[in-house]
């Protein structure tokens, strides 16, 4: 499983989501996350079709996108979704 997080230094929602996602990943013992900056890594993020709301969290299984979150998501929702994906991978 791979997680891509696209955020920006000026984005408050990104700060809010950073702490939510980091604590959820720690709880679920998921460590593989790649951070991309919307402004600094504009070339790299093009292939992910970023859209206009940040942050963007994209979950891949075997290089295939299975889930995407745009903007702020509750910790509960995040935990539920990531747990389902993790369990699917383990299975």
């Amino acid at each position: 499983m791979k997680i891509i997080r696209i955020s920006a230094l000026w984005c408050m929602s990104c700060l809010v989501m950073r702490s939510r996602l980091d604590s959820t990943l720690k709880k679920l013992e998921i460590s593989h996350i790649e951070d991309l900056d919307f402004d600094e890594d504009s070339d790299k993020i093009k292939k992910y079709n970023p859209g206009s709301i940040l942050p963007i969290i994209i979950i891949f299984i075997n290089d295939k996108e299975v889930m995407r979150f745009n903007g702020e998501v509750s910790k509960k929702q995040l935990e539920k979704a990531l747990k389902e994906v993790r369990d699917e991978v383990i299975a």
Binding site: L9, W10, C11, M12, S13, S19, D39, I53, G71
Partner: protein
């Protein structure tokens, strides 16, 4: 017996000749300065007509200040005699007491009438001015008839009820205005960059400079707008224009809220090119070796950003300062209310900055609060717009 009866009748007759001194209520004259097209004057006239039904010893002299230059000159001279900061109508004078604005008139005139009804031989200041006689300080009544109209708040203490609504407005509207994310992103970026430098002193100094300058610019803009509105406030159509402006701002605010709730909560990527330009500028400024140059640079960024982003939240500060102008406050009172407004405008910035200083990391506030601030701001402006046009006595 007959002698006693005669003496009794004599005493009674003599007694009937002694004039009894009965303290009748004085005649009181209200000098009322108004103008036909002034909506508050219309409200005041309606109020006065209903009130004076209860008094048969009150004379009313009306001066339309637009009808003749004599009336206008008399009005202006009296405003100067009573040392009022603003020459606004409706304006009433009884004896040595003046009442300016609809609120003061409605809340105090009965007390003033009753005071002068009991006062023998009082000085009518208006007549003195008309007759070109000197008005002495002791001719002006120093009693504050609004003294009873106060409430007591914790910590703050006693406060006039009229002032309370302006104070509440400054706190509430200032705080809602502050949740506007337009200039917030710069502060977040700035603090993030500063924390990456790992220089706590720079975080403190440059962050504080940015916030202080933002507050100062906002304060200057609001004070300037207040001066302009105070000059225009005499024009009755201006009040309607402000009401219409409030409704327009309300429409855009509520529309913005409606558009935002249908989207995900997050940071919208708009105007990316100018954002990058500004971010580059900030990076250059904070990396300056000379701290003073960095301070000047950050102050410059704060001024630029807040002026550009003023359009984002122009509605709320404009409407609030317009309300201040119509309350006949002194310059110091107006300045204090605007200062309170700006403090609450900066409160979310101060929270983020304080956390950054203490924990040395940047914490964000969810953008969902910004959405609801659009809704609240829109509803407040809708209320103020409608009240200014149709029910101004609710506001002033």
């Amino acid at each position: 017996m007959k002698l006693l009866l005669k003496i009794f009748l004599l005493v009674v007759s003599l007694a009937l000749l002694i004039p009894f001194q009965v303290d009748a209520a004085n005649d009181v004259t209200i000098h009322y300065f108004k103008e036909e097209t002034c909506p508050n004057c219309r409200q005041a006239s309606i109020f006065l007509n209903e009130l004076l039904v209860n008094y048969d010893n009150v004379n009313l002299i009306i001066y339309d200040i637009r009808e003749s230059s004599e009336n206008e000159n008399l009005f202006l001279e009296l405003v100067s005699v009573f040392d009022r900061d603003l020459a606004s109508i409706p304006y009433m004078i009884i004896g040595g007491k003046d009442l300016q604005g609809l609120y003061e008139i409605e809340s105090q005139i009965e007390d003033v009438i009753e005071y002068y009804q009991d006062k023998q031989g009082y000085t009518d200041v208006v007549e003195r001015v008309i007759n070109k006689q000197v008005v002495l300080p002791e001719d002006l009544l120093q009693i504050d008839f609004s003294e009873n109209k106060t409430i007591t708040l914790p910590i703050i203490g006693e406060i006039e009820i009229a002032s309370f609504s302006l104070l509440l407005g400054a706190i509430l509207i200032g705080a809602i205005d502050g949740f506007n994310p337009c200039a917030m992103w710069i502060l977040i970026f700035l603090i993030t960059m500063l924390i990456n430098l790992k220089d706590r002193k720079r975080v403190w100094i440059l962050g504080f400079t940015f916030i202080f300058t933002s507050g100062l610019i906002y304060y200057i803009i609001m004070m300037s707008w207040l001066q302009l509105v105070m000059k225009l406030a005499l024009i009755s159509a201006f009040q309607i224009a402000i009401g219409v402006l409030a409704l327009i701002f309300a429409f855009f605010s509520l529309r913005h809220f409606w558009q935002q709730i249908r989207k995900d909560t997050g940071c919208e990527v708009t105007d990316a090119k100018s954002k990058r330009k500004l971010m580059e500028k900030i990076k250059q400024v904070i990396h300056k070796n000379n701290l003073w140059l960095a301070i000047v640079g950050i102050a410059g960024v704060a001024i630029t950003v807040n002026i550009i982003e003023l359009a984002c939240s122009a509605g709320l500060p404009v409407i609030y300062t317009s309300m201040l102008a119509y309350h006949n406050l002194t310059a110091l009172q107006s300045a204090m209310y605007i200062l309170i407004y700006v403090l609450f405008f900066l409160i979310d910035d101060l929270i983020i900055f304080s956390i950054a200083i203490i924990s040395f990391r940047v914490t964000g506030i969810s953008n969902k609060y910004a959405k609801y601030s659009s809704l609240l701001g829109g509803l407040i402006m809708l209320f103020i717009g409608i009240a200014m046009i149709f029910f101004p006595h609710i506001l002033f």
